[in-house]
Amino acid sequence: MTALLTLDNLSVSTGGKTLIHGLSFFLAKGERLGLIGESGSGKSLTALAATGLLPAGLSASGSAILAGTEVIGAPERQLNTLRGTAAAIVFQEPLTALDPLMRVGKQVAEPLSRRAKRDGKPLHGTALDEAVLALLTEVALPDPPRIARAYPHELSGGQRQRIAIAMALACKPDLLIADEPTTALDVTTQAEILALIDRLVRERNMALLFISHDLPVVANTVSRVVVLRQGEAVEAGTVADVFGNPQHDYTKSLLAAARSFDRALEGTP
């Protein structure tokens, strides 16, 4: 197995405070890994550090190798090429991730034409428009020509998240990072978006780094998980092992909480 992303003893700190302590894991091509943790556990920071997107004031040490390139300490120029070919991110809140003043078709066209240029086959005019519509169709948006002309505020939350996913796909990444992609959505919409991510990852043979605090969602989406608590990995393994036979007390308490709502739904409290 070739590793697409390898974190080795990655730490992130700010002003003497360590937010992530020596985190190590790897993700192979086409593999699905879940990062589980509650707020402040450092799961989003891990994704940002792995793609060189840490905000100013935060510094990373250790190693994060993405598609063969060391991200920690790499110059911005190099990272810019890496992001968008090796990895693309879908964020939690599609309303803030999209530009409110730009028609969504144009927003999808940007990464599409950038990627096409990099591949040496630039797209313009009608060819680009058609590629946008094809992508909107791929993320199962109804009436793509109408959606392409719409502004983000004219779309529903689920539709906006589909646009954000289309933009990530436009980069043709080897690794899709999804940071709480369904947390802001209704449950019925969540089910649709999860099914969409599942299909796309399979069809395009992408690796998936899925970040979430929602255990049942993670359990149904990925095959391996890392459980984070206050910046430290407390447990890692396959979903069946970690959820079926948790070792750490923290994992046990998370599972007990998730199970209590599960049981309530089954009517067997």
């Binding site: 509650e38 707020s39 939350g157 209704d186 449950v187 019925t188 919409t189 969540q190 089910a191 999860l194 605090h213 929602d214 255990l215 049942p216 969602v217 359990a219 149904n220 979903v239 069946a240 959820f243 079926g244 308490s253 998370l254 599972l255 007990a256 909480a257 998730a258 199970r259 209590s260 709502f261 599960d262 309530a264 739904l265 089954e266 009517g267 409290p269």
Partner: protein
């Protein structure tokens, strides 16, 4: 006996768009009722009507047999002592510049309730599982779960018989959420609770009755156990099928 009765209520913020249609609902004293719906279903609007913050376009709402007449100031003054609310986001619902004492005692002041406010606040803090010393501190010194406990303490300090909660646990982490649900379950033994949420799992864990709202209409209501076991309306069925569960995965893997 009913505490709240909603009869044939229609409501819209503008004449062209109706938000709630033909709402019929009864809440018995001491009951715990979960109002479930997705965004835009009208949950919060219905809550606003029940709090007297908006007036139905047609139909009627009665509280304890009396018409919930937002124009009747004497009635409203008395009603406000009876019903209190907990909001979703404890970061924005607590004034950052007031001490916890001042925040929790606010209903006592505004409702002009006599008595030893220090003692009442201390009792409310104790009821939600916080230390009495918390009273002298400020909201930023507390975690999200603790803040939600403070918001609950504020809601129960005047000992209202009717507590409303609007997505009160949705912004909390999973383990914190179970603790707040346990707290609400404990408190609901002594009061009537209307718990509004998009999360049917939390409602199932907390509420005896359930009301399902879709696009401003009640599509199904009844005992939680019955609805979970045998949902009648296609929307309820879809809602239940959409909830991701751990158990499903464990069986398949």
């Amino acid at each position: 006996m009913t505490l709240i009765q909603v009869k044939n209520v229609d409501f819209g913020y503008s004449a062209t768009r109706q938000i709630l249609s033909d709402i019929n609902l009864e809440i018995a004293p001491g009951d715990t009722v979960g109002l479930v719906g997705e965004s835009g279903s009208g949950k919060t609007t219905l809550l606003r009507l029940l709090l007297g913050l908006a007036r139905p376009d047609s139909g009627s709402i009665t509280f304890d047999g009396q018409n919930l007449d937002t124009g009747n100031r004497a009635f409203m003054r008395q009603f406000r002592r009876q019903a209190q609310i907990v909001f979703q986001d404890p970061y924005s619902s607590l004034d950052p510049r007031q001490t916890i004492f001042s925040i929790i005692a606010e209903p006592l002041r505004s409702l002009k309730i006599d008595g030893d406010h220090r003692q009442m606040v201390a009792e409310a803090l104790e009821a939600v599982g916080l230390d009495r010393d918390a009273a002298t501190r400020y909201p930023h010194q507390f975690s999200g779960g603790q803040r939600q406990r403070i918001a609950i303490a504020r809601a129960i300090v005047a000992r209202p018989p009717f507590l409303l909660a609007d997505e009160a646990v949705s912004a909390l982490d999973l383990t914190t959420r179970t603790r707040i649900v346990d707290l609400l379950a404990r408190l609901s033994a002594e009061m009537t609770l209307l718990f509004v949420s998009h999360d049917i799992g939390v409602v199932a864990a907390l509420c005896r009755r359930i009301v399902i709202l879709e696009k401003g209409r009640i599509v199904e209501q009844g005992e939680t156990a019955k609805i979970l076991k045998n949902p009648q309306h296609p929307y309820t069925q879809r809602l239940l099928a959409s909830v991701p569960r751990l158990s499903v995965n464990e069986i398949s893997s």
